[in-house]
Amino acid sequence: MTAIDPTAHLTAEQIEELGRELDAIRDEVIAGRGEKDAAYIRKVISAQRKLELVSRGVLLFSIFPPAWLIGTAGLSVAKIMENMEIGHNVLHGQWDWMRDPKIHSTTWDWDHVSPAEQWKHSHNELHHTYTNVIGKDNDLGYGIMRVDEDQKWYPFHLGQPLWNFINACFFEYGIAAYDLDLGRNLHKRRRKNPEFRARARAVGRKIRKQVLKDYVIHPLLSGPSFLTTLAATFTANLVRNIWSHSVIMCGHFPEGVQVFERRSIKGETRGQWYLRQMMGSANISGGKAMHFMTGNLSHQIEHHLFPDLPSNRYAEVAVKVRGLFEKYELKYVTGPLPKQVYSAWHKVFRLSLPNKKPKVTTPDREQELAAV
């Protein structure tokens, strides 16, 4: 949709060739998947569980400030690991090849108010298939924000920095509402739709369990530390929400990322699909710890090309993918977290206002006359 198409220099054959080269990268990883990868995810899962257990244990004594601090920090990290490197990736089917029924996209549920089933539909299916296609991919602005100059501006958008901030704090609820397509389904007639009601009930059940666990059971178990444990869990959820919201904003919002029109994906070839993923995603640069804490979504471009490859392989894949970006003279959007977060927020602010008037394009009458 941007005025200049950054892929205009590619011929149709080149795009298909690019597709084949990407397929080859994928095949290579699949052929090499094995024991080491399996050991990796098992280790991460067991470490996460231990960290959560210990942190919750420490929080039983959170009435003492140092215990509160340590427990809250530990729980925040545990929750981030659970959602990002484990939950998101397992639910993508990245580990289904192990045939371990305990680590499988069909059986997994995560520490999140959106039930796995619903999230898999809206995320794996809609977002990953229609990446950045306006009107089809609701991840673009979650239906509450304007993310491209070409979208129509309404006064409602003036508030979008605030909406976005609130969404960041309660991100998991935002996602649940978005998975339910709440905005559209709250209309009178749709509200009664039995299918929608069943899904809404499922979300309700999940929310109840999550809230009960975090804000009732664990605080109660802490006895005299009831209030401090409550505050700690709230904080951990807040930290996790803001963190994952930031990481996810960096995936498709920063400047330089393309969005697409609905009609542009009609009859899309495999090569074109790949190309759209490449142009519609952005990475976060950084060290190993950064990649781990983002669930390797810092390799968003690679993740969008190959959503089902095991996350621990994205780093090596990224080197090859970047090579292809260079070969085909495409822009690989990446940068350190603060820069990408700033860039995404900047866009949110910028687009909350109507577009600036386009520069004068019609010849000026006065000048014309003067020239005569």
Partner: protein, 351 residues
């Protein structure tokens, strides 16, 4: 309140504490063999038997219900990160004091699991277990005369029987290519020395295959004996014919290890197990389309292999991944993405 009701309440409460996981997910971290856990076993020792066979000593989890001599157990092993299930006969007696069981595995060429177990199994390794099962077992009432007819690794269930119960009159005819290929050779010879067994050992590399028509030369009273036979399909087929011909088929009990080889090809007959529909499919049409054509309700999403919204158990046969050409064979826990898999021979999916 009864104690079970109390316990189930307590468990419910625990589930609230650990949601969305289960308490067992945490308990598994510390005590994978405890009562109430999914059945698992820990390998405690590996003893080589021959150049390509080894006996594996397993400590089963607390949920193990024991076995009957001659039965087999299915075990799930992670080979190159992929969980694969195979069945092996239990070779230990039923009353082993330490509660351990053993299986004896012969590495077959290209056998992923058998080679892994024989060559890579280490004490400490966890494996998945199923309860023992199978009707290749001894009867309650002791038969007066017994014949064991075995070949190759077909000796394993019989060894479990031999170690379990003594009969007064036992004959065994066992075939293996060479003397050093005979699994349990020294155990067998010990039994012979103790006069507990009469053994005919055939070395097929030098003696040729056992001709079942001439069994009478080796065991003149074979027809009077209650017989347990285990070995390659050829031997068992011949034995079944022979016993039937002589009018004593009820005396013969057989055990077949491999129930059928999966035929792979390009396309084939696809059966939808739940809806009971069968249609022909070619090797290029995704099973998702095949099912929808046939009016089967198929879950789906992206239809291009990325969303995993279409995964379905493959219960029989084989399919080919249309992207990589890789063949996947049916088995417990085998799920396929129907949108990128086509029939590779006859197959059945659960829909």
């Amino acid at each position: 309140m009864t104690s079970t009701a109390l316990r189930s309440r307590a468990w419910k409460l625990l589930e609230m504490v650990t949601t969305p996981l289960l308490p067992s997910d945490y308990l598994d971290l510390v005590s994978p063999l405890r009562a109430g856990a999914d059945l698992r076993g820990r390998i405690e020792a590996v003893h080589p038997e021959t150049g390509d066979a080894a006996t594996i000593v397993i400590r089963p989890g607390r949920g193990w219900r024991g076995h009957t001599a001659g039965q087999y157990v299915r075990i799930g092993v992670d080979v190159d990160g992929v969980r694969l299930w195979r069945a092996y006969s239990v070779t230990s007696p039923t009353n082993r004091r330490d509660g351990r069981i053993t299986i004896t595995v012969k590495a077959i060429p290209d056998g992923k699991v058998s080679n892994h177990l024989v060559r890579m199994a280490q004490p400490g390794m966890l494996i998945q277990l199923d309860q023992a099962t199978g009707d290749f077992v001894l009867p309650e009432a002791k038969p007066a005369k017994v014949l064991y007819l075995t070949a190759g690794s077909g000796i394993t269930p019989v060894m479990g029987m031999l170690r379990d119960i003594d009969f007064d009159d036992v004959v065994m005819v066992h075939s293996a290519p060479k003397p050093h290929d005979v699994i349990f050779r020294s155990d067998l010879h010990d039994l012979v020395a103790d006069k507990k067994l009469r053994l005919t050992e055939l070395h097929t590399d030098t003696d040729g295959m056992l001709d079942i028509a001439r069994l009478g030369e080796l065991v003149p009273d074979w027809a009077e004996r209650e017989t347990w036979a285990c070995g390659p399909a050829g031997l068992l087929d011949a034995a079944e014919d022979h016993w039937t011909e002589h009018g004593v088929p009820e005396r013969l009990h057989t055990e077949r290890f491999r129930s059928g080889v999966v035929v792979t090809g390009d396309g084939g007959e696809v059966t939808f197990g739940t809806t009971n529909k069968t249609v022909d499919a070619d090797g290029a049409t995704p099973l998702l389309d095949v099912g929808e054509e046939a009016g089967v309700l198929m879950p789906s999403g992206c239809r291009m292999g990325i969303c995993f919204g279409c995964v379905t158990p493959l219960t029989a046969g084989a399919v080919r991944d249309l992207r990589t050409g890789e063949i996947t064979e049916a088995g417990p826990g085998v799920l396929i993405q129907t949108c990128v898999s086509a029939a590779a021979g006859p197959c059945e999916i659960e829909r």
